[in-house]
């Protein structure tokens, strides 16, 4: 294995801009984007918890933001990012078990991630709005 001429035989992938987008590739990128969005989204979780620990005034400020239309849009997007990334992560577990690499399962899993995340997000918000 170490004898392989790594430089000469190295496979080169075509550049992103000349590659027609396909569902598996888009879902792979979206997994990364949602991961990064969730990374910064933890600031909101931190704000909510610290506000609740600080007292009624700080909590009212945070709650006011989360209840505003911009806050609701962000939380809706947050929910979707979380659901999408979670399902995308489960997809990685399927691959880790050496399954789901063929064309059919691959595309099926990609669509399932997308459809599943949108459905779960809408479902959660319907439940959430009923609770309120």
């Amino acid at each position: 294995m170490s004898q392989v001429d790594a430089k000469a035989n190295r496979p080169l992938s075509p550049h992103l801009t000349i590659y027609r987008p396909i569902i598996t590739m888009v879902m792979s990128i979206v997994h990364r984007i949602t991961g990064c969005a969730l990374f910064f989204g933890t600031l909101l979780v931190m704000w909510w918890l610290v506000a609740a620990a600080s007292g009624p005034d700080a909590f009212a400020t945070a709650n006011g933001f989360f209840g505003s239309w911009i806050g609701i849009i962000i939380l809706f997007g947050y929910t979707w990012a979380l659901m999408h990334h979670m399902l995308g992560g489960l997809r990685h577990f399927v691959w880790d078990s050496i399954h789901g690499f063929d064309e059919k399962p691959r595309e099926m899993l990609a669509w399932a991630t997308l459809i599943g995340s949108v459905s779960l997000t809408i479902l959660l918000w319907i439940v959430g709005l009923i609770v309120i």
Binding site: C36, T42, A52, T79, L124, V131
Partner: protein, 127 residues
């Protein structure tokens, strides 16, 4: 001479980063833990949506909620730090910029984790 080491042996030799498969393993371990923890967290947040300060405070103060919240915070901040490290290593090629961002990544995760855990503990211990 033919190379006698097996691929497994080479991986156990820990590779160029001297950490072997540890990063991958921790990413998967935290991802696995994240699934039930995130489901718990989402249900918690929905059940508290629109509730008053007193109700939220009391709920966060109850032991099992606080314990699972802290586990959630530990798991997701560790997971996101590992994940963001890969993203930075993939896209940032200049040595100084990369090191700066890798350090910022670690600090960010630790600050979010400590502040959030402190907040939960303060609420729990009656603050």
């Amino acid at each position: 001479m033919a190379d006698m080491t097996t691929p497994l042996k080479r991986v156990r030799g820990l590779g160029s980063a001297r950490s072997g498969t540890d990063h991958f393993w921790q990413q998967r371990l935290t991802a696995l833990a994240n699934v039930p923890l995130i489901i718990f967290f989402v249900i918690l947040v929905i059940s508290l949506a629109g509730e008053s300060y007193e109700v939220v405070h009391d709920r966060l103060a109850s032991p099992w909620v606080a314990i699972f919240l802290i586990l959630t915070i530990i798991s997701i901040t560790h997971h996101m730090r590992l994940g963001m490290q890969i993203v930075i290593e993939d896209y940032v090629h200049g040595e100084p910029q990369r090191i700066l961002l890798l350090v910022a990544n670690i600090f960010f995760a630790l600050i979010v984790a400590s502040a959030s855990i402190f907040a939960v503990l303060k609420i729990s211990f009656g603050g």
